[in-house]
Each structure stands twice: as C-alpha cells, then as structure tokens.
Symmetry: C2
Subunit: 327 residues, 2 copies
DNA sequence: GTGAAAGCGCTAACAT
DNA sequence: ATGTTAGCGCTTTCAC
C-alpha cells in the first residue's frame, strides 16, 4: 500500500506537489501533474483519508441517530440523507438507538471523539440539557423530532395541524367516537398529534373521549394490534381510529379485520406517514403523507451548512391528507 | 478542545502515561492514574479517534453495502450487524447502492482510502473480477448474496432448497399451475430459487410452466403488482404463485384481491423472507423465513474475525416454511 | 511552480 | 513505573 512519500520519490517531486495534484491545486505545471498522475497509477496509490482527516481535523462523517431502522418512515429519511451527503463527499454513520439512552451516549461520543462532524438526530430521548450543551460545541440538527425551546435547527412538519386535519376529516364524514392510538408521549410528535386530535374534537363539541386514547409502548404492528384489541373491548366501541403511525394503523386494521368487523363500514381508520405498505393493506389506508425523502435531504443539507459555519433556518414541510379506502 | 498534550502537562506526566491510562494499560500506579483521570475530567478531554486511527492504521468502521434500505429484509440484517459491531467497538458506514455500479465504486473506494476496515456486501452487481481482486487485499464478506466460485466468505441460506420446499408444498396441496415471480437474475438468490422451483415441478412431472415465470425489474410492491397483473392476463391462469420476496408477494396479493379473485381459494401464494409485514396482510402470507437478524450478527462477526486475520468459515443458516392463510 | 518542514493527536518501542 | 521520541499520511505555510 503505497503512500504519498513513495509517489513523490518515484515521481521525482516533493510530497507537497503530490498533494497539490491530489487536490487539483492549480499551481502545478501540466507536465508535473501528468508525471505524478502516471506514478499514482503505476503504484495504484490511493490517498489515505485517515491522514487527511487528521490533518484537516474532520471525519467527513455524519452521524445519523434513529430510534429504529425497521420503521420505513426512517428508512425513507435515510435515503434522502445519504443521497445528499454522498453528493457532498460525506458519508453517514448509521446508528440505531432503540431509544436506549445508554446506546445513545455511546453514539454521541462519536462526535466528541471527532469521528463524526455532525449529528442528525431523530430521537427525542436524549437528555435535553445535555443536548443543548452539546449543540453549543457541535453541529447538530434535528429531523422530525425537535425541541420547541432550544435553538437546535430542525426539519419537520406541523404535526398538530396534520393530526387536526385527519381528525376533522373523520368527524366530517360522520364520526363522533374517534379513538386515538398514540405512541409514547416522550415523542414531541405524539404530544403534538394528540393536541391536534383534541383540538378537532373540541372544535366540533365532542367530549368524553379520554377513554378512547391509547398509548403504545413502541411503534410496531403488534402494538397497533394490542391497542385495537383494547379499544374493541370498550363498552362504547369507537367508530373511527386515528393512529399516529401507519405501522400502528396497520396493526389496528389487522385486529379489526380479525374481529370480524369491517373497515370502513364499521370502523374507519386513518394512519400517518404514508409509508409504501400503507397502500398494500386491505383496505388501503387513508393517511397523512410526510415528505420523508425530502426531509432527509433537507436535514443533511442543513447539517452540512451548519458544519461549514453557515447560518441555517428551520424548515417545516407541508403534509397532505391522502384519502384511500379505509375511511 | 483539549488534546493529550494538555492533559499530560496539567497532570505533570508524559503523553505516554496519559495514553496508558486511556488504554487501561496496567503499568501505571494507582496514584498517577487517578491524577490523570482527574485532569481528564477537569478538561473534559475526549481522545481523538482521528489521531488514534491514523496511528493504528484502522478506521474501526465497517462498510455495509446494501441494494436498498427500504426493503425490511435488509433492515433486519442491518440490525444484527450493528448490534454486533458496536459490541466490539466498531461502527457501521451504511451505504445504499441501488444496484448502481457507479455508486458502488464510490463506496468501495472507502476501503481503499482506509476509511473502512472491511466490507459486508449484500449486493451482487459488483464486477466479479474486481471483487475477487479486492478481496485479496481487503477484508470482505458477503451476506445473503455470494459467489459460488470465488473464496469470499459468506453467510447465507440454501436458497434452492428453500424454494424447492415452498413449491413442493404448493404442489402437495394440489397445485399444478404454479407461477414464479422472480427478481432480476443478476441476484444469485434469484437464480437459485428458480432452480428450486424447477426442481420441484420436475420432480412431480409438471411441465410447460415457462410461460408462468415472470422477472421483475426491481423488488417493490409495484413490481409485484405488475407481475401479477401480467400473470392474470394469461389464458391459463396460475392456481398458485411463488414469489421470491415477500415484497413481491404482497404486491401480487394486492393485485389478486383487486381483480376480485380470492386467496387462497382461487390462487394460493407463498412469499419469501418473513418480513414483519407479511403477517399483516389479508390474508396473512405463507412464506419462507430467513434468520435475518442472525445473519447480520454472523456476517459482522465473520468480518471482524477476518479483519483480525483469523480464518473464517462460511455459514449456511436454516430456513423454515411458515404456513399461514395465503395457502 | 516547487520544495522543506511543521504539525494534526495519538500509540508504542525503547530507554531509564 | 514513567518519559522520550519517532512516526502513522496527509495538508499547508513559508521560502525560494
């Protein structure tokens, strides 16, 4: 494995000149450049990023912290992040936290150790105070989840409004007993969507729904099923369900089908995210679409700008109610 | 941002001693160790991995090359890889190739540039000759996809046998006109599963099925739908379908439902992978389960061992036919 | 236009 | 048990 010294020696130039050729620095005569390039080829020389990184005090790595890679919502975002990062010669260090704070600290150490130049955070469980301290020293952006108080830049949607739209629609098509399948309220989106849900109900004078709110432990199909089973056991069954994630909605849908009830005639259901699966269920799922891919691109760009020391602005993307067969 | 020098100076010791404390080297008196640790705390010193990596000529990064992160099959594998890697103080550099060879070369350069210590390859599109050359110099293992000729270690299942089991089962429950929805035959698994399919049909004296084999462009729900639409247009409709991926099977299922036919009474369907979603469809999908998570763990361990210079053995995991409602 | 040399932060061989 | 020092591979400043 040749290094820059050998190339320099063999080409009869100094390492500085080789470095100049490597970095397309203009101050090299065409003749020298050619000679150096030839030797590079002969030796199959590949510059070491370890050396370059140390010298430049950068890793060109972006730390991506997600709760759970198995949720297609996150995979789509990652798609966008990666595409954008690679274009700008960054790579992503993918880290799944499972919302485990110990795991999180391991990963967050990567930035303290200079192994990452910045963090795209999609998990809310980080200790808030620590996070804000951290963001004073390091480049951090949040995606989807964010903190209203701090000044960590973020990319997200208006979760409250989106939930409000979903529930208002359920009311308008004739539902009064509308259940909410929510995830853990440690997530900002969970709190916001609940607020949107409550706002819609309140606006239409619907009360006494507290019994119809269910909080899941995690976001899995099974949690959705469990939630729905529980809701179906109530003496006052809901006529509609709003789930804060397609994953939960799909689990709920399954459970309704299994119980012999029909969607949407007996129970309507609305999900959230518009993951690809949501169009493959029976019946297909009405849902709120979020521009996951674009959110990924935007957060990567935002982070890279932040790393470069530029000022960045929060971005709130539009959502859309996609009406399909489940309502 | 303090460095090792400052810590040494402030603690009144040499950098070597600080390094010893950092690396839990035993040759340090308790008193010195305590003093150094105290200064480390005072300065909030965090050792730079950039320096350490250069010095040790390692990146402690594992390059994970996958065709497509949106396929839950791969996310599950990644789960296993990450879990295993982190335990051994490695991190993963996730790279999605989209089976694009240009993209692939960008990523593969990462190992040449010492930015990765090894590669877990799940994509078959790499130029074979180049790959074998590469594997002579660098640590590479393959997961799921592999090369029968070369000697790149791999983790996989017996794809031919698994497909054979699936199709034999379809025959035994009374099907003769069995369609195959296959993906691109650039994938080894696609060729192997086709072989298993053919073997089963041949064994039971079933012929004239070539019209019932469909190759998709990619592995998406839409491709599955497209394939099924095409198969349903044949004058001799199949009574059963074997799809080489749950994703394709789910798309096909959707299309059958949409056409008014019933699964399994009109058409039976078997998928492959046992992704979580395969249990959420209507009806639930009979499928071949692969131990994705374990495959991920095994390939990470294998790669790390290879990096350490150990001898490694190929691993072929067991599959299982999981009979559910679609057959 | 090119070269010499310093130095990024760390580890480890060697010396004491 | 601890210190001195070389050097991992690169970029960049300063001379010429």
């Amino acid at each position: 494995m040749a290094n820059i010294q050998e190339v320099a020696r063999k080409a009869g130039v100094s390492v500085a000149t080789v470095s100049r050729v490597l970095n397309n620095n203009s101050n090299v005569t065409e003749k020298t450049r050619l000679k150096v390039k030839q030797v590079i080829n002969e030796l199959s020389y590949e510059p070491s990023r370890l050396g370059r990184n140390l010298r430049n005090s950068e890793s060109r790595l972006l730390l991506v912290l997600i709760p759970n890679i198995s949720n297609p919502f996150y995979s789509e975002i990652i798609n966008g992040i990666e595409e954008t990062a690679v274009k700008q010669d960054y790579n992503i260090l993918l880290c799944e936290t499972n919302s485990d704070s110990e795991r999180e600290s391991i990963y967050i150490n990567l930035i303290k150790n200079r192994m990452a130049d910045g963090i795209i955070l999609m998990d809310p469980t980080v200790n808030k105070k620590k996070l804000h301290e951290l963001s004073e020293t390091y480049s951090i952006v949040q995606c989807s989840e964010y903190d209203k108080e701090g000044n960590i830049p973020f990319v997200s949607i208006n979760n409250e409004l989106a939930a409000y739209h979903a529930v208002r629609y359920l009311i308008k098509i004739g539902n009064k007993k509308i259940a909410l399948i929510n995830s853990d309220e440690k997530f900002l989106y969970a709190r916001e969507r609940k607020r949107g849900y409550e706002k819609a109900l309140h606006e239409f004078g619907i009360t006494g729904y507290s019994d119809l709110i269910y909080h899941t432990d995690a976001v899995s199909f099974e949690d959705g099923q469990l939630a729905m089973r529980c809701l179906l056991d109530k003496k006052e069954k809901p006529t509609a369900v709003f789930a804060v994630s397609d994953i939960l909605a799909i689990g709920a849908l399954k459970e309704i089908n299994a119980s012999g009830l029909k969607v949407p005639s007996d129970i309507s259901i609305v999900g959230f995210d518009k993951i690809a699966f949501s169009n493959m269920t029976y019946p297909t799922l009405t849902t709120i679409s979020q521009p996951m891919y674009k959110m990924g691109c935007a957060s990567a760009n935002m982070l890279i700008n932040k790393i470069k020391g530029k000022q960045v602005e929060n971005i709130t993307f539009d959502h859309e109610l996609v009406i399909r067969e489940s309502t």
